[in-house]
């Protein structure tokens, strides 16, 4: 579903970025991307979603090159950033309609999906209000609904659980599982290692722009260990510290 081959991206005038990142996310995978602040998680996600250009490497979504055919790639995925800055001047329903129009989702389909997801996340009654009046969590929920409105094959999320209430977190995890059961894939960055360990079948650890470990969760987290132990070990910190 998503192949990142030797991705290298450096910001001009800065030594930050990512080096030679290679990750393969297959159909049915829920892939966690973990690392400390500034490790390169968001940079990688921004390159994958076409927000940033990259220096070297190749990104393929469903076998299509992001560089050669960005539009086709963008039709297949949905992205939710860590801080969902949405159009403050639109109401929730206007924003959802805008996204649905861009993806040319039919009127009936969008109605059904908005009713379902907004109902699940309990923000249906707030959709008539301006986004500027929304709390962080409500914006996050709206961003998730807008991502699901066109039924993407690949869901890319940056810290999706930050700001969500416990109920919404459970619902989102359920949605992620359903997408994977339907043959899609989910690739997300997180700091919540417990959730990553329980939810994901694959994981990658990144430090200072370099992927230190990646692969099946079961292969990386061996018996008697937790993802937290592995993460601390990988970044060279002792838990006792």
């Amino acid at each position: 579903m998503l192949k990142i081959n030797n991705l290298t991206k450096h910001y001009k005038g800065s030594d930050k970025g990512v080096n030679n990142v290679t990750l393969h996310i297959g159909k049915g995978d829920i892939y966690a991307f973990i690392g400390h602040n500034g490790a390169g998680k968001t940079t990688t996600l921004k390159c994958v979603t076409g927000i940033h250009d990259f220096d070297e490497g190749e990104i393929l979504i469903d076998g299509i090159s992001l560089r050669d055919n960005p539009l086709e790639c963008k039709r297949r995925f949905a992205y939710i950033p860590d801080n969902p800055d949405l159009y403050k001047y639109l109401t929730g329903i206007q924003y959802l309609n805008f996204i649905a129009d861009i993806f040319q989702v039919g009127a009936n389909d969008r109605e059904d999906r908005i009713k379902k997801y907004a109902g699940d996340f309990e923000i249906l009654e707030s959709l008539g209000d301006l986004i500027s009046t929304y709390s962080h969590g409500m914006k996050q929920k709206l961003a998730i609904i807008s991502a699901l409105i066109h039924q993407p094959k690949l869901l890319i999320l940056d810290e999706p659980f930050v700001g969500l209430d416990p109920q919404a977190t459970v619902i989102l995890k359920g949605i992620m599982k359903k997408i994977c059961e339907a043959g899609g894939a989910v690739f997300f960055s997180t700091h919540v290692l417990d959730v990553a360990e329980r939810l994901c079948n694959k994981v990658a650890i990144i430090k200072a722009g370099n992927v230190l470990a990646s692969g099946n969760m079961a292969d990386i987290v061996r018996e008697g260990q937790s993802l937290e132990d592995i993460f601390m070990e990988a970044i060279g910190k002792n838990v006792a510290d």
């Binding site: 001009k12 005038g13 963008k74 800055d85 639109l90 649905a100 009127a107 908005i114 008539g128």
Partner: protein, 528 residues
Amino acid sequence: MWQIKILSKLELINFCSLNVIIHSKDKKARRTSITVGCIIGFVALMIMSYVGGLSYGFITLGAEEIVPAYIVFLSSLFTLLFCAFKAGKIIFKDSCYDILSSMPIKKSALVISRFIRLYVEGLVVACLIMVPGIAVYTCLVKPGILAVILGILSVIFVPIIPVALSVLLGVIITGISSRMKNKTLFESLCVVLIIVVMLGCGALIPTGENMSFDMEAMEGMANELLGVIYKIYPPAAWFAGAFGVGSSIAFLIGIIASATLLGVVVLLTVSNFESINRRLHTSIAKHDYKLGKLEKKSMMKAIIYREAKGYFSSGTYVMNTIIGPIMAVVFTIGLLFLDLESIFKNFPIDINVNGVIPVLFAGILTISCPVAVSVSMEGREFWIIKTLPVMDKDILKGKLMFSGILLAPFFIVGELIMIIALKPSISNLVWMIVMPIAIVFCTLVMGLWINLKFPKLQWNSDVEVIKQSVAAFLGGFVGVLLALFSLIPVLIVPADFYNIAACGVCIILFIVAIIINSRNNKFDLMFL
């Protein structure tokens, strides 16, 4: 006092982008800041040369008494125009409000620091306009040492009144709009009202009708102009008296009046600061939405709809860009009442009124090119468009189309009035319509190109984009420069060849617009 010092320092660092120039590792950002500095320096030089030249002209024509009043008036007017439409936003800016209001900072310190920031802007304007005028006047008229000293000191005090008036206006408008549901609409109506009042004052200035270019007439004209300036803006008389004739009393009256007004406005602002801010930062959500029938729109309609919503949500954006179109329509209405033939007959060259007026109309219409900041206005929400399956050229097309739709009603009304006022022949009628279309189209395309070259996507207040960005600055010149370019052949070519000249200008403008538009369409928004 130390709070004012710290907060003012922060305000000025933010205003001048000093940290970007000194500390940024991003070479592009630094380069942009330095380029902006150079452009501003160039424009400053132009303004200084203009004022110096104008003062020299007045003095050599024997109307030297007008120079002190004129430079004080011009400086105050520019400061007022520069600050009036953004003072409310600066004083009540929302960035960091939550953090600052939770800190042990006095409200008065916050207000005064923001006042100081506006004053510094006014002081820069005063220096640019008054210093060359004072220099020329001192060299040629030799008004005496006291007058010169008072003149130089006046530069410091002249900006106080227009800045205080701007803040007063900002507080009143923001105070009322903060109680309203549709803040943007109210603020826009206020701007229209202010423009109408200013244009009304402008109507008092002598038009030069029946004027001839001899010394006697110039003297009469100067006296008339002086009278009008004092009538519109009495403080000009105090500071002009100080510099022109070295009157210490006039200077003292000026200082006392400025200090009194400043004190009153600061007190008024401080006493209303918290309540206005509270209302501005309190949002009411109804939570009563019922999902009804939804409609599917085409992709382009959705993009234009989003542009329109974004545009009308920003009072500053509307205020800044609606001035040109309103002024253009007012200009055409003025044509109905002015005897153009008698105004233009005194010019040293023959003027083709039907050729010049449409070009001036287009120049005024595009004086504040809305599309020149449209990319920057995407701000932090730019990620949405970047991750959606929309071609970059469609996004840019949407921006151009919305700007065209915005200007269209003003264009149509202005054209109809021009046709009624000028009663053109068939061939003149064609160019009266095609020439402004060519100028507007070329301005919009060039405005978009400027914004793609000088984007500002990281901002906390839209004032930073709409009032202070390079794109806004340069975008304001495009329409005027294109109008000037279009005027040259209209003025030079004999009336018999006007059709050929107009046709040539339009072809050049359309070709330039098409070339730049194709370059815009190749632009990859991912690189912004």
